[in-house]
Symmetry: C2
Subunit: 517 residues, 2 copies
């Protein structure tokens, strides 16, 4: 067997069974090896932004890494923006980046570039394989690095290592290191703060702590001690709806975020870093908590978040089963009609959400009310753009649908962001993924119009307008989607949208609705 | 005025008048400044691969840098693949990458990343602006670095530098440093080798040396001394056709390249590095010249290539005006008919080429005969993918059309590569650019099928097939192009193609032909 076989076998032994890929010549031996392993599911993305974004969506829904296969520095480069989002989502991923044969590098052939320098900003761990014999050990190290704590790792595979012979033992499944015991000193410090702070306490829940079981524990603490539960501004994944305990998401808009946190005296972090402003604005603070707010870390990403929350609950003497406040569907449900608006779409999506849907929200300005409106919807997962690098929605939905073939994936997609990685629709068509894409076709980078006002620009002239508006010509999303194999239709009124959305939910396979707002 | 104004003014003072852009929030003050300078032409790309690829095409045709406006690390990351090609094309470009306000970086907000690490592999020069007062000097330094020798430079613009006040003097136009005098010792050494080598001599011409005037000088030398003129495997730009002196391009396929150079005893480099194999293959050499071949550098990129060629001609005593062998259109022109093939398309394009067309060839496997067939066509420029990072064709054509509004741009485009940056069609529509895009719709990464055979893989299974074939579903390019505002039609026979191509040449504005082969 060759090095490429050894790499595949090591991934498979550790249950890495999906490879999102866009290979090139330097990866041909790896492709040949994958071809010998039908148990590896290889999924082509028509640009690497689709590849890495899909691997992110897959990992968010499975807590497992997918492999990606990327072609040299430029292939990696195309995937970096969604790797940036994946890094901020703190999910596991193993990038395999093919490179020239090691002896070819000194010739500086056209495709040569400094892959390490490109990979480092978006990877917690980068390693260049030295030889075929190094591959099994390097792949195991990559897997370990990707899993504890979860993060993006990048393994550079020179062609000569891939095609070199190895006499490797069949790889064994690596044992997972047990999570470190909960730090009881920290738990007692947090409990003390919750019990003895005269003012407001908030718990910011992220990662594993934003799943239903952890929210249940946090909800019990919140009910007993009048604590507020908060979610991150950019949610990697939150389980909610269906009577689950809910948390208030920190809003994106700086003034709203500051207002939400203004009266918090103690902020407890469970899996999240301290919240900060997405951007700096002249005269506004960067930290979102007020001056003097005490910030305590109960447990960090990769630690035993559930154990820490349970220990905190017990330390506080909260009984697990006392009744909790849970959001419920609004009784007097409004049925929007007539002119289609962003908020009308949010109302209709929230009310029609099927059980166990996965929402991928890259609605940017257009979906801003959806999170709030869907707290009482059927049970679902809520995924967002975590790093602010636009173009994650379509790939994320693609990966989530691969991960969860029995669940409906609903991608609420801003048009400007969707244009970045529209090629992902083709992968949805090829794999017949059960994804409904709703394009908010406002034909502008609407967020920039808002930001332009916020920086105090008076009026918008020709140059600015031509960098922020997406009209002249407007994309015909129906035509683009159909061209990539995804059936699609346009909605111009609430009634049309409701009909299309209902019928899209009833069918299986990808469908796109261009909601013209 | 603020720092952003100072940056714009410095660019404009140095005649940088086109800005390809995809801005974000951290660039809003820069956008507002651009809005105050109507003399700067701002052109939106719907992803940064379009932005940087278009800036490359613009520079190849004008020898002048465009500015690009990119949003933080991820925005830069999306543009890196085409920056890689631009770096290999050795063209000038000034990237302006917006970043958070400097005091916001330590908070590690979601969009924060190590921009320097991302930029370095594709930039000859990277600088982070320290303050508003630093901007004018930094922009001048960026311009100088981009121009001598020409290359890609990256200027990082923190938001607080952009919005900070400056009391800058109105910027002055920088003087261009004169090219260093031709090194006559080198000229004499090369002349000696040409005169006294009993075997074959080749001159490899690239960059400025691949323009018509330099080719004319090289042609005189070649005619007088039986020297072979060669062009690079991946041409940044060559002026040819219309009776101009032609050069033989080094082929991509390793065996053909080795064969072409096998009997060259002395290779003279004029603006090109020594040619090497695009990829390494087991058992094949990486250097393309034979062992023992003497490689001499007459002049390098950024040096006085024309002066060096003229000095060489004079040193050799070649009279400028002796008659040269020039390619002419084939007398018995073949008119292909019936079933549409790659080579039939090449024949039809070569024979119908209008005067002064600009060919952007990202045909990969499909256009491989076009270069040879078009040597006798009407005068034209020939541009190729220089770095092997696919997805340059549509953006390159976009930028070339901005640079040369009075010339027809013809983009011969492989389908798999075109899918990477298909969003560029929208920019062509918005700017009403005179570009004819010919998609070679073979519905495969055909180059990978060839490479798979070359690495000795026996047969192709399901996993490999699904990573190399683009069928199931096939893109409907006509639908995709129309959805982005570009009129389009499909050609299934030679007759249909000839009709569509002729009518596309007669009209102005973008048009796409999906050539189904």
């Amino acid at each position: 067997m060759n090095g490429a076989d050894s790499l595949c076998d090591t991934l498979l032994a550790n249950d890495v069974r999906v490879c999102f890929a866009n290979p090139g010549t330097s990866e041909m031996h790896f492709v040949a090896a994958l071809d010998r392993k039908p148990e590896m599911r290889c999924i082509l993305g028509l640009s690497e932004g689709v590849v890495t974004g899909a691997a992110d969506g897959y990992a968010r829904m499975t807590d497992r890494p997918a492999a990606t296969l990327l072609h040299t520095g430029p292939g990696l480069a195309n995937g970096l923006a969604n790797l940036h989002n994946a890094r901020r989502a703190r999910i596991p991923m193993i990038n395999i980046v093919g490179d020239h044969a090691s002896y070819h590098l000194s010739l500086d052939a056209p495709l040569t570039s400094d892959i390490e320098s490109l990979a480092a900003p978006m990877s917690k761990w980068v390693h260049r394989i030295r030889s075929a014999e190094d591959i099994a050990g390097a792949t195991e190290a990559a897997y370990r690095a990707a899993m504890s704590p979860p993060g993006v790792v990048t393994l550079i595979l020179p062609a000569d290592a891939a095609w070199g012979d190895v006499s490797a033992e069949p790889p064994e499944r690596l044992s997972h290191p047990a999570l470190a015991a909960v730090n009881m000193d920290t738990v007692r410090e947090v409990a003390h703060a919750i019990r003895d702070t005269p003012g407001e306490v908030g718990i910011l829940l992220a990662g594993r702590a934003a799943r239903a079981d952890c929210l249940e524990v946090a909800g019990a603490i919140a009910a007993a001690h009048d604590v507020r539960l908060l979610g991150e501004m950019q949610l990697a994944r939150m389980e909610r709806g269906g009577g689950r305990v809910s948390a208030t998401r920190i809003p994106y808009a700086i003034d709203s975020a500051l207002e939400l946190l203004a009266d918090i005296d103690v902020l407890v972090l469970a899996g999240a870093p301290e919240p900060v402003a997405f951007f700096a604005y002249p005269g506004k603070p960067g930290r979102l908590v007020r001056k003097g707010c005490k910030v305590l870390t109960l447990a960090s990403h990769g630690e035993d978040l559930k154990g820490a929350l349970e220990a905190l609950r017990d330390e506080l003497g909260v009984r697990p089963h006392q009744p909790l406040s849970r959001p419920t569907p609004s009784g007097d449900s409004i049925v929007p009609f007539g002119h289609l608006t962003e908020d009308a779409i949010a109302v209709m999506v929230a009310s029609a959400l099927p059980d166990n849907a996965i929402i991928c929200d890259e609605g940017v300005t257009s979906a801003r009310r959806l999170f709030e409106l869907s707290s009482g919807s059927a049970p679902h997962d809520y995924l967002m753009n975590t790093g602010g690098s636009i173009g994650c929605g379509i790939p994320l939905a693609t990966g989530a649908a691969i991960a969860c073939p029995d669940r409906k994936v609903i991608n609420l997609q801003a048009d400007g962001s969707g244009m970045y990685t529209v090629q992902g629709l083709w992968t949805q068509a090829r794999e017949n993924l059960d994804v409904v894409t709703v394009i908010f076709a406002n034909r502008a980078y609407a967020v920039l119009h808002g930001e332009m006002r916020r920086v105090g620009a008076n009026g918008i002239g020709e140059n600015a307008r031509r960098m922020m508006d997406l009209d002249h010509p407007a994309w015909d999303w129906v035509s683009v989607a159909k061209g990539m194999g995804v059936d699609a239709a346009g909605a111009y009124s609430c009634e049309q949208f409701a009909d299309l959305f209902q019928s899209a939910l009833r069918r299986r396979g990808p469908f796109l609705i261009e909601a013209v707002i």
